[in-house]
């Protein structure tokens, strides 16, 4: 059972290891962290909270966080699909991440 603090530690670790920044909007961030905990507790893995996971790991492998689309989205938009992980360059602009097109073919 993962709690909010576990999921928060997870995203903080991922961002730190990858050299990314987390969204500075705390409300946005907390919704996503709660979503991660919920997804872990029902699926058994941290699937992307912004995509409808199947709940079957083989089908969801590409959307387990950090997802396969994170880097391409960061390269094009400065942040991931969820607006969670921002590049340092994008973070420095102070801009607020917005919805971006879905790169995953579903």
């Amino acid at each position: 059972m993962k709690k909010f603090e576990d999921a928060k530690l997870f995203v903080t670790m991922v961002a730190s290891q990858q050299g990314w920044e987390l969204n500075r909007d705390q409300e946005h961030l907390e919704i996503l962290i709660e979503g991660f905990a919920k997804n872990y507790n029902r699926y058994g893995y941290y699937s992307c909270p912004c995509r409808a996971a199947s709940g079957k790991k083989d089908e969801d492998r590409d959307i387990v966080c950090p997802c396969r689309y994170c880097r391409p989205d960061q390269e094009e938009y400065g942040h991931c699909f969820c607006g969670l992980y921002l590049t340092k360059e994008y973070f420095a602009t102070g801009e607020e991440p917005a919805s971006i097109p879905e790169r995953r073919k579903v």
Binding site: L32, N39, P49, A52, K56, G83, A98
Partner: protein, 98 residues
């Protein structure tokens, strides 16, 4: 989609029949619902991730086939014809706030 239990929220403003397919875990979905509430727009919504596996997959396929859009969330439909995928406040204002 007939068997889906939508939640209805009544607002003072009617911007057409507004349906939102959302995820309970997604920040942009929550922002979209907040926008509709703050602008007092009547709408119905369903959290797609809270449906069972078969219903969820069937719904995604039906949205894709019917509207020819990739099924990103929030997926908002106005009057069964205009589709807005993702949340962009300016776009929402343009389509929903008269």
């Amino acid at each position: 989609m007939e068997n889906i239990n939508f939640t209805y929220e009544e607002g003072k403003s009617k911007a057409g029949d507004v349906t939102v397919y959302a995820l309970s875990t997604c920040a942009f979905c929550k922002k979209a619902l907040k926008f509709l509430r703050e602008n007092s727009i009547s709408f119905r919504y369903v959290y797609v991730d809270e449906l069972d596996y078969e219903s969820r997959e069937e719904l995604k396929a039906r949205l894709r086939d019917k509207y020819r859009e990739s099924t990103g969330f929030p997926f908002l439909v106005i009057d069964d014809k205009t589709v807005i995928v993702g949340f962009n406040e300016e776009n929402y204002k343009r389509h929903l706030v008269k």
